[in-house]
């Protein structure tokens, strides 16, 4: 099924356009990295606040309110630019294990970030501090997941396809 999908995708005008315009893929990658800066930066800043290292004079809810909306928009742009990067060279991503590991990590990181939002808002409504052990644990796990997303993302370019995959 994946083979059929890749074979279909590669014949679409999108792939043809992206292959012919030399500027297109680096431009899309630049946009992709800028959005990663918004998502990862936002996650790091929120969690530095959770650990009490920056913005200590600001309530956690205010810091979340500042960073989560741009992070959410950036995630949508990442999905679009990511889909275009797959379309630019379908066999490069779809048949490499590390690509699917990245997709799994993205889902986990988004879920962890959402869980964090819920925990932090509930915590700050209750006592204003919201730095219990479980909150710190989720903060650490969330950051590690985002770091994993960046590592596996960069590794897609260096990995080889699994046995029997089209080249």
């Amino acid at each position: 099924m994946l083979n059929a999908f890749a074979a279909w995708l590669i014949k679409t005008p999108v792939t043809a356009f992206l292959e012919n315009a030399a500027w297109a893929v680096p431009t899309i990658q630049t946009l992709h990295i800028l959005c990663i800066a918004l998502v990862f930066g936002g996650a790091v800043f929120v969690n530095l606040r959770v650990f009490g290292l920056i913005e200590r004079d600001q309530p956690i809810a205010a810091v979340l309110g500042r960073f989560l909306p741009p992070m959410a928009i950036a995630i949508v742009v990442l999905a679009i630019t990511g889909a275009l990067l797959i379309a630019s060279e379908p066999n490069r991503a779809l048949f490499r294990l590390v690509f699917w590991v990245k997709m799994g990590l993205v889902l986990l990181a988004v879920a962890a970030t959402w869980t964090q939002r819920r925990l932090l808002l509930a915590g700050s409504a209750r006592d204003g501090a919201a730095t219990t052990l479980s909150v710190r644990l989720v903060a650490g796990v969330t950051l590690l997941l985002w770091v994993g997303v960046i590592f596996t993302g960069r590794w897609i370019g260096y990995a080889t396809g699994w046995p029997g995959s089209p080249s």
């Binding site: 990295i33 800028l34 800066a37 800043f45 530095l48 920056i54 913005e55 500042r66 993302g153 590794w155």
Partner: protein, 159 residues
């Protein structure tokens, strides 16, 4: 000793050949470089949007930027270190690459922009004055850093 001699001897260092020949060293260093860059650019976006006056305008400029600039500098140190290691793998090719040289020029421009802001505007900006000039410095910085990211990506396709 010419520049080419220096670059060739850099390329022959054991560290350089180790990075160039290893299957995993370069991608690992590159991943750390991406992490560092996203934090440099992420924190600079926060500061620049405050300078431009579109975000966090209710916060005093000096106190707000002081929260984020240490992150910028720490991440920049990591980006410079990992960038230098990637450079060592192929110094001759990098120095001959127009996108690499343009990226260095833009980094210099970013530094000059920051220095000029610090020297001529910052004190008044902290008192809520010189809003127009502050906005121009913020916009310039944001544009330069988007250019730095773009040139970095172009290096990957042309090196």
């Amino acid at each position: 000793m010419s520049l080419t001699d220096v670059l060739t001897s850099l390329q022959a260092l054991p560290l350089s050949t180790a990075i160039a020949e290893s299957d995993w060293l370069f991608p690992t260093i590159e991943s750390l470089h991406v992490i560092a860059i996203t934090l440099v650019v992420g924190s600079i976006i926060v500061v620049d949007l405050r300078l431009i006056g579109v975000a966090a305008t209710n916060r005093p400029l000096g106190a707000f930027t002081a929260q984020f600039l240490p992150i910028t500098w720490t991440a920049f140190a990591l980006a410079a270190l990992t960038g230098s290691l990637m450079f060592l793998a192929k110094p001759v090719s990098y120095v001959g690459n127009v996108f690499f040289l343009s990226k260095l020029a833009l980094l210099l421009a970013a530094g000059l922009n920051m220095a000029a802001f610090h020297l001529f505007v910052e004190r008044r900006a902290h008192q809520g004055q010189a809003l127009g000039a502050t906005r121009v410095f913020g916009l310039t910085s944001l544009t330069i850093w988007i250019g730095v990211v773009a040139l970095g990506r172009w290096i990957g396709f042309t090196i």
